[in-house]
Amino acid sequence: MSELDPKFKYRVAREPGGEKIKLCFACGICTASCPIREIDERYNPRKIIRMILLGMKKRVLENDFIWFCSSCYACTERCPQGVRFTDVMNAIKNIAVKEGYVPWAFVQQIEILKKHGRLYEIDEFDNNKRSALGLPRIAKAKGFTQKIMELTGIDKITKR
């Protein structure tokens, strides 16, 4: 019981996307609609909401399953209480990152975005290919993304 943090749900509700978490009345339509759940039973939206509301902060944040949401919004569309579970998952993941849990895939993505402003680098080779196909050349990114990352401190995540 000492592991429980009764204030956890309020923290989730303060995070963008988590505002409606306390409205859940556990009908389970999120779980029934989830395409990930259909394949991997470890991912259970209804159970994740219960864990949050019960204050099982550590068990939620350190668990790999919080990263399994494919962000399809099927649950969000069907929820009778307007909980917006897809956005709740984003809130949980944002909190997890602040607490130091960041999957390697995101560290890589952040590095690439910082360097190139896009998820894929468009180099000279690509631009030559584009020209041959009659597509306009793509200018190098001007560093706006990098500036936003430095401004928000997201680049520090990758240094932990």
């Binding site: 944002n94 597509l135 306009p136 793509i138 500036k147």
Partner: protein, 292 residues
């Protein structure tokens, strides 16, 4: 009709066939796409790890289009979702712009405040702005031999409350009607509204591919000539990774995957090469034989 063109990272990196067909079809229909050098990532990849960075990245792109006085035309459904969501917020809170501009200035990014703009996916521009009637008039080669399965993907429809007008996400029809206007037959199938799985590819490859497989498996048994979609991420799953999924599950699908502008372009009588069809991973040769 003039739009700031927002192809997005994945189209530029992995979807030249989509870009070519989008540009060709737009130009033929009088949609002018203006390339904007200042556009960068829409922010979507960071939404789950750092909401503020996501919001500012999307807002900066939108403010750039506002400065130029152009509505935004997107190709990727994920970009469409992020930009639409943040745009909705900006338009509901007009005065927040000054705060955002000041914040970006602190980071060394200079922007002037312009007038609000709209964000629209190209396929929605075709459906809502150009309209089926006008499209029907440019169809020169009816694709009556084609049986096509629509794939809407997720962010083109959902969350529906960010879109204006919204389409019923449980019973969408825009893509079906856009396919029908080309003369092709639409295949209805039980997994039609399933997610492609791309959202978790980097996190859990096995689950992602198992999800992609559902549609491939159902449609390979059906009489679909091709799957038709409008998101580069979905295409990476169904087209680029189809061979991998066939090997993984020891199954054969051999299902061509086309972007909607490629389908429309063919019906308009444009050359397959102009539409980048030689770049689709699963061969489209047998399919193209059908229109000769």
């Amino acid at each position: 009709m003039k739009y700031a063109f927002f192809p997005g990272c994945t189209v530029l990196g992995r979807g030249r066939n989509y870009e070519m067909s989008a540009r060709a079809v737009s130009s033929a229909l009088g949609i002018e796409l203006v390339d904007i050098d200042d556009f960068e990532c829409c922010g979507f990849p960071l939404k789950s790890v750092h909401y503020e960075a996501y919001f500012l990245m999307a807002a900066r792109n939108i403010l750039t289009a506002e400065e130029k006085g152009l509505n935004i035309c997107t190709l990727c459904s994920a970009c469409t979702g992020s930009l639409t969501e943040v745009n909705k917020h900006l338009n509901a809170n007009f005065d927040e712009r000054a705060k955002i501009v000041a914040q970006l200035k602190k980071g060394g990014i200079e922007l002037k405040i312009g007038k609000p703009v709209k964000v629209k996916h190209l396929v929605k521009i075709l459906y809502e702005e150009v309209g089926l009637e006008k499209i029907e008039k440019v169809v020169k080669k009816k694709l009556s031999n084609f049986s096509l399965a629509p794939h809407y993907g997720c962010h083109y429809l959902k969350p529906s409350d960010i879109y204006e007008p919204a389409e019923d996400p449980e019973n969408p029809k825009s893509l079906e009607e856009l396919i029908t206007v080309t003369g092709a037959r639409v295949i209805n199938y039980s997994e039609k509204l399933k997610c492609c799985g791309a959202g978790i590819l980097a996190i859990n490859e096995d689950t992602a591919y198992s999800l992609t497989r559902l549609k491939l498996k159902e449609l390979s048994k059906d009489s679909a000539d091709a799957l038709v979609l409008m998101c580069p991420f979905c295409s990476v799953m169904y087209d680029d990774n189809q061979k991998k999924i066939e090997q993984k599950f020891q199954e054969q699908y051999n299902l061509p995957v086309l972007y909607y502008p490629q389908v429309l372009g063919l019906a308009m009588g444009l050359e397959p090469k102009t539409l980048g069809l030689q770049m689709n991973r699963v061969s489209t040769r047998a399919l193209l034989e059908k229109i000769k």
